[in-house]
């Protein structure tokens, strides 16, 4: 191939840089994956060598990122339609669908194999299932079929602390299931609060969203119900081996705040919401982010106290 032909082929489409491949891994989603997986790993009662812990978190993050690349491969047709996703590497023409598929599959296999070698088969199996769940069950099957896509798809985002826990212990226990349940129950009210105030073009892309299929009134009711169901799960975690008074106080505070916000959302109608430019919905969405980081941050503090040999329940005289 001559230089001239190379230049001719290059001028047709902008070339992908390193950042475009990194963008395929959905780095913002990865932040949550890394943080919750790290908490799952450090809260576990089994000490892990720092290098092994670092490798485990890295491969969980890479596996999560790879599933994001496969999601972009599958959804490139709707990403082209929606304003928010139009500048992603595939719709922008910098990376082809085939390249994204190859990149996602290679990283998925590598992440699972390396996690198995670095830790154990339970953690690797959970990571493989998470990738399968996000790509096949959520992206290919549920996302364009049911308005409950957020609920079931949210499970994929709930697995990382469970994988972190399994990386340390080699097990699935009540504690890891409850950490999963907290994120699983938290995801729907978090996203539906966003859906209420974001003018999205999911409808044009043929993705059923609860706000469109069942209306905004039903969405408000759903937020309220899920927040009620979330509270006992989140508070209950305080009474397991990874909880303690600091976590309990944090969970009571944040769940109280979340319940109050969800109640306010439920009581409002569109006229009231438009009058204050969806102020309450925006506030609840913002608080929901603090909620998750607050609860998992408290678990991290409890784990640090245990590592230092302190019994946090005994410290408060319980």
């Amino acid at each position: 191939m001559s230089d001239a032909s190379l230049n001719a082929s290059q001028s047709q489409a902008p070339e992908a840089g390193f950042g475009d491949y990194f963008a395929l891994l959905k780095p913002r989603v990865m932040t949550l994956v890394v943080f919750t997986a790290l908490v799952g790993l450090l809260a576990a009662p089994v000490p892990v060598h720092p290098v092994v812990a670092f490798a485990a978190i890295l491969f969980i993050a890479v596996g999560g990122g790879a599933s994001g690349a496969l999601n972009m491969w599958w959804d490139s047709d709707i990403d082209t339609i929606m304003q928010r996703t139009r500048r992603r590497p595939i719709p922008a023409g910098r990376i082809t669908r085939g390249e994204a598929f190859g990149f996602g599959m290679t990283l998925s296999v590598m992440a699972v194999v390396m996690l198995a070698l670095a830790t154990n088969f339970v953690a690797a199996g959970l990571l493989a299932f998470t990738i399968f769940f996000y790509v096949v069950v959520y992206s290919m099957w549920l996302k364009r079929w049911t308005p409950q896509n957020i609920v079931i798809g949210g499970a994929a985002g709930a697995f990382p602390p469970m994988i972190g826990w399994a990386a340390a212990t080699g097990n699935i226990t009540l504690e890891s299931v409850l950490m999963f349940a907290v994120i699983f129950m938290w995801t729907p009210p978090h996203f539906w609060a966003l859906a209420l105030f974001m003018k999205s073009d999911y409808h044009e892309a043929g993705v059923p969203m609860l706000t469109v299929t069942h209306g905004r009134r039903a969405t408000r009711a759903h937020i309220w119900i899920y927040t009620i169901l979330l509270a006992p799960v989140a508070v209950g975690l305080a009474f397991t081996s990874i909880g303690g008074p600091i976590y309990l106080a944090t969970a009571v505070f944040f769940n109280g705040l979340f319940l109050k916000g969800a109640w306010d959302i439920w009581r409002r109608d569109e006229v009231m919401a438009e009058a204050d430019a969806y102020g309450v919905e925006k506030k609840v969405f913002k608080h929901s982010i603090y909620y998750l980081f607050g609860l998992f941050g408290a678990l991290l503090i409890e784990a640090s106290l245990r590592t230092a040999g302190l019994d946090s329940w005994a410290m408060v005289g319980w």
């Binding site: 390193f18 060598h49 290098v51 890295l58 070698l117």
Partner: protein, 55 residues
């Protein structure tokens, strides 16, 4: 001797190639670190040679 000036394509792909190089170097370092961490634990035992294969 004169080096050929680098092609525009090489300049354009420099960032991507450098990034990939650093990722690969990091991966090699991580595998090395993992190996050291694994063989340093008390659980690690060298495979012993027995009749008919390793154990």
């Amino acid at each position: 001797m004169e080096f050929r000036p680098s092609h525009e394509l090489h300049k354009r792909r420099f960032g991507r190639n450098l990034g990939l190089g650093l990722v690969l170097a990091g991966f090699v370092a991580l595998v090395f670190g993992l190996t050291i961490a694994k063989v340093s634990t008390d659980e690690f035992r060298m495979p012993t040679q027995v009749q008919g294969g390793t154990q």
